[in-house]
Amino acid sequence: MANFLVGHFFYWFVFLLMAIGLFGIVLKRNLIKKAIGMSIFQVAIILFFVASGSKWGGTVPVLDPRLGISDTARYINPLPHCLMLTAIVVGVATSGVAFALIISIWRRYQTLDEPELLAKMKNDPD
């Protein structure tokens, strides 16, 4: 049990971050805070992948002539790093689009508070 708790320590941290991100998305009323929650959720997933690639005693996946390539345990797993570079870009793109949408919402309704926004939309004729 102790081994389970300690061995997965980093995952508990990541899961907590995910829960915080989801909490922000679901329960916050301000659109910017929702966007921040989205970012936290995404970052938590990125941390999760990167953590899964680590090896105790391993170094960065750049070939070191002193280490050679005979022992794969010397280098941490490069695949999650590569995947997460892609996921980071996707996250950046999603945040950019989210902020663009928030700006155009602000221009039309002058509010970012969700209940207020919905009330204003209801009064809108079309």
């Binding site: 389970f4 899961f15 909490f23 679901v26 490069p78 892609t86 870009v89 950019g96």
Partner: protein, 103 residues
């Protein structure tokens, strides 16, 4: 509404912890995704990347070789994603500035 949201969050955390019971410890070099072959006997990709990237691409940085060659198509998709974001920002926001200038 609020209570159900908290319940869903708790369910989500429960699922995560349940899933974590099957995970190898962090940093375990013998974990299933670090072995030379997968349980079904097919080659394991990361091992191959570490062993062969110098030989096949003359490149030291394994992340670069995966990003640009072994899984290069993902990166093309990634560039497309960011271009899409640029186009959307253009579509949503750019035109209104011209109107602003005319005023």
């Amino acid at each position: 509404m609020k209570v159900s949201s908290y319940l869903l969050l708790a369910l989500f955390c429960g699922l995560l912890i349940y899933a974590a019971t099957g995970f190898p410890n962090r940093g375990d070099a013998q974990a299933v995704f670090n072995r030379p072959t997968s349980p079904a006997g097919t080659p394991n990709a990361p091992t191959r990347y570490i062993l062969k990237s110098k030989e096949e691409m003359n490149t030291d940085n394994m992340v670069t070789t995966i990003l640009a060659d072994y899984r290069g198509y993902d990166t093309l998709g990634e560039e497309t994603v960011i271009l899409t974001a640029g186009l959307i920002c253009f579509l949503l926001l750019r035109k209104e500035r011209k109107r602003h200038d005319q005023e």
